[in-house]
């Protein structure tokens, strides 16, 4: 299973499934990271975490721990 955490900077992937539950999952989905959405991994913060994504035409930052909940293909 490949998660968003493992995606290299500069790659574009598609969200396959969201794992986990509760507020974090809901928040991730509220921000538009739903099944089938294209995600471009833009960069990683200077200290290695969090990461910056382009989703639905805007920039979003998520922690790697949370990115691990997002299965991609």
């Amino acid at each position: 299973m490949k998660t968003l955490k493992d995606v290299q900077v500069g790659e574009t992937v598609t969200v396959a499934k969201l794992h986990g539950e509760g507020p974090v999952k809901r928040r991730i989905m509220d921000m538009g990271l739903t099944k089938g959405t294209k995600v471009y991994v833009r960069k990683v913060a200077p200290l290695g975490d969090p990461m910056e994504l382009t989703v639905r035409n805007y920039e979003l930052s998520v922690r790697k721990a949370d990115a691990e909940m997002i299965e991609v293909e």
Binding site: L18, E21, G22, P23, V24, K25, R26, R27, I28, M29, D30, M31, G32, T34, K35, T37, K43, V44, A45, P46, L47, G48, D49, P50, E52, R56, N57, Y58, E59, L60, S61, V62, R63, D66
Partner: protein, 732 residues
């Protein structure tokens, strides 16, 4: 009756700009009851009977973040007559997601598609008519920044409010979900306000526990509803909450396909992208961050322009303290009072109590304004979100936000603006934690205390000051780790799923307004508390029993404060400074920390004004302290309750009496324990103190602290926002 219009939209969608242009100077700024979320309302320009309520910027009406709970609490309980929903046209998909939830409330909605100038510049086209038809509510294009279409949007909202009828709801969800929702609607009919029926049904489908608790349905009904939900979940192989969210976005995709024509991008990078590539560059980000922070600090808190620095803030504050409240006001008022021959005590009350008290408060204001001006620019430009992005990794370990860096940095200059700078932190828990710990850092006014102790007992050694900063940082880190595991701060740090808004040129109107609002709220709210406390302390210090009568004392040794201090100074015996002078000095530090040194001067009967570090009284201080007890005294004064001004700022920002008391109580307790441990354990090592009962206490404190630091966090994963929206709105 006044028409109420709620202004709702995502963060960074230009809501503040629109609100300002619609209401002008006719605003009331406060907090939502009991929480640290800001609340603004104002009258629509030219319409005295229309009240506009600015809701917190939100992405969704989920029950998880405080802002969302506040916003939906207002919408459901206060029932505004219309919602003006601002939509960032450049980011339409995510903005419409909130719209699909707002229209379910059964309140008339008007969509104002903002930043239309940018949309046009990008070559995109939004078909308002189609958008309006699809979502069943009117749509209008505006550019809040250029003041284009704002009035029309407001007029449409007023018209919608007068009509009082919500539009036809679109079919957002698929057949089986709509079917289940219809069943839920049927079973709760009559139990909720008719127009909110759809909203409650969808929330029940999502298994929103706040709504479940509010409706208090019987078990039979709940089971019936649950059966329908479970059927859907099985059919779609997903949980109900996810089904709803997925389908909303799927529906929006369809709407956007029909109503928005996007011009294919010729160049890949916008200006904002290019700026961002540079500013949050893997290598350059930290140096740039350091440079911006240094500039901000140097301009607001650094060496005054009068002394060759670039510190505009310091210059303005020095002038207010030394010239305005040091010479101009006292001279003018003093002359006046003398000429009309007021009694000595009244003269003292006005000059030393009120003028000095007001001066102590207002002296902070110019510096604060400069600092808030700079912070507002950073916020408005979009850099603040990047600060959180860059610093998150370090600070989240201590239960703080990446943005906590700024309050702490500012706190090295002055705790008052430091505490108030915490307002840029979105998450309530991070914000409270930051407010509680910012004052541990030695501020400018604590420097004279350090100077006095270092000079009198350590031969002026610079390690005293260095160690003070080290202790301050250690106190923040230890407190962060300990507090985040307590019930108070139960749960994980908030989900850090944060939008990084596009950079843009600051809207100067917003910046100036935000600057003034923060300064004014300090003057107004904190001013009263600080002033009262200062006058009381002035009275205790200036009055007492002399020659057998209650009078204004010549000799401070006879003041009420000295009597009280003598009675309670035993409290500090375990810290090694259980003498009344040290106690009086510590208490007088509550007015302003630099007073500690001045008070020693008075108590040792030094007649003239002391220099900053009090070198005139070093011999006396050296005689009444040992090196260790002096150091312990210093630690206590650095960490304990800050000055009244900072406590006022804490109260203002916490917006909650209980939390203010917890914060100040925690600081005092921490200071008491830290200085006790230093004196007892240090004394045991140097041979100054023999093994006694307090040695055991000190060891117990250390052991307990280690336990608190390393115990597992049993609240991990509990991430509920405990906030009763109904109560809060009702108690308004």
């Amino acid at each position: 009756m006044a028409i109420k219009i709620a202004l709702a939209g995502n963060p960074n969608c230009g809501k503040t700009t629109l609100f300002n242009s619609l209401t002008g100077s006719n605003q009331y700024v406060g907090n939502w009851p009991g929480v640290t979320v800001e609340k603004k309302e104002g009258k629509l320009k030219g319409h005295d009977d229309v009240v506009i309520q600015d809701l917190p910027g939100i992405y969704s009406l989920s029950p998880y973040t405080l802002e969302e709970v506040v916003a939906r609490g207002y919408l459901v309980n206060e029932k505004p007559d219309a919602i003006l929903n601002i939509i960032d046209g450049t980011n339409i998909e995510r903005n419409l997601y909130l719209t699909t939830q707002l229209i379910e409330l059964g309140i008339p909605v008007v969509m104002a598609v903002n930043m239309i100038d940018l949309v046009r510049k990008n070559g995109d086209k939004i078909d308002l008519k189609k958008l309006s038809n699809e979502l069943g509510c009117e749509a209008v294009e505006i550019s809040a920044l250029k003041n284009e279409g704002s009035e029309k949007a407001a007029e449409l909202a007023v018209a919608a409010a007068k009509k009082g009828k919500a539009g036809e709801l679109p079919h957002v969800f698929t057949g089986s979900v709509e079917h289940a929702i219809a069943h839920i609607e049927e079973s709760i009919q009559g139990k909720v306000d008719g127009r909110f029926l759809r909203w409650y049904a969808v929330k029940l489908f999502e298994r929103d526990d706040k709504v479940q608790a509010e409706l208090n349905l019987n078990k039979e009904l709940l089971d019936h509803i649950d059966a329908h939900i479970t059927d859907c979940e099985k059919e779609m192989d997903d949980d109900a909450e996810s089904i709803i969210t997925n389908q909303r976005y799927a529906y929006i995709n369809g709407v956007v396909d029909k109503a928005v024509k996007k011009k294919p991008r010729t160049e890949n990078l916008t200006v904002s992208d290019k700026v961002d590539q540079f500013v949050t560059n893997r290598i350059l980000a930290l140096p740039i961050f350091a440079l911006i922070m240094w500039l901000m600090y140097a301009i607001a808190m650094g060496t005054s322009v009068a002394d060759g620095g670039i510190g505009i803030g310091t210059f303005a504050t020095d002038w207010t303290n030394d010239v305005l409240f040091g010479e101009i006001v006292p001279n003018a008022l003093g002359g006046l009072l003398e000429s009309i021959g007021v009694a000595g005590w009244l003269y003292g009350l006005i000059m030393d109590g009120i003028v000095a008290g007001v001066g102590a408060v207002l002296g902070f204001v110019p510096q604060m304004l400069v600092l808030f001006f700079l912070l507002s620019i950073l916020e408005d430009v979009g850099y603040m979100a990047r600060v959180a992005f860059i610093m998150d990794r370090i600070f989240r370990r201590f239960g703080l936000s990446g943005k906590s860096f700024i309050p702490i940095l500012v706190g090295t200059g002055c705790g008052v603006p430091g505490v108030m700078a915490s307002r840029t932190i979105e998450n309530e828990r991070d914000r409270r934690m930051t407010i509680m710990t910012t004052c541990f850092i030695p501020c400018g006014a604590k420097m004279p205390i350090i100077g006095l102790i270092a000079g009198a007992l350590f031969g002026g050694s610079s390690w005293v000051a260095t160690s003070a900063y080290f202790i301050g940082f250690a106190a923040i880190i230890i407190s962060g780790i300990i507090l985040k595991k307590t019930k108070l701060f139960a749960g994980d740090p908030a989900p850090f799923v944060m939008e990084l808004p596009a950079y843009h040129v600051p809207a100067w109107g917003n910046v100036l307004r935000a600057t003034w609002e923060r300064g004014w709220s300090f003057i107004k709210r904190a001013g009263t508390v600080i002033l009262a406390a200062t006058i009381i302390l002035w009275f205790l210090q200036g009055f007492g029993f002399e020659n057998g009568a209650f009078t204004m004392v010549e000799d401070q040794d006879n003041s009420i404060l000295a009597i009280v201090a003598s009675a309670i100074s035993w409290i500090f015996i375990p810290q090694g400074f259980g003498n009344w002078r040290a106690t009086v000095a510590s208490i007088s530090g509550l007015i302003a920390k630099e007073n500690v040194v001045g008070t020693f001067g008075v108590l040792y009967h030094y007649a003239d004004e002391l220099s900053d570090n009090g070198d005139e009284i070093w011999p006396e201080v050296a005689a009444s302290f040992t090196a260790l007890s002096a150091y312990s005294f210093m630690i206590f004064n650095l960490l304990c309750a800050p000055c009244f001004a900072a406590m006022g700022a804490i109260k203002r920002e916490m917006n909650n009496g209980k939390w203010t008391a917890i914060a100040i109580g925690y600081m005092c307790l921490f200071a008491y324990c830290a200085s006790l441990v230093v004196y007892q354990i240090g004394g045991l090592i140097t041979g100054e103190v023999s093994f006694n009962i307090f040695t055991i206490v000190a060891i117990a404190i250390i052991a307990f602290t280690i336990y608190l630091l390393f115990r597992p966090n049993k609240y991990e994963g509990v991430n509920e926002v405990s906030f009763d929206s109904k109560k809060a709105v009702a108690s308004k």
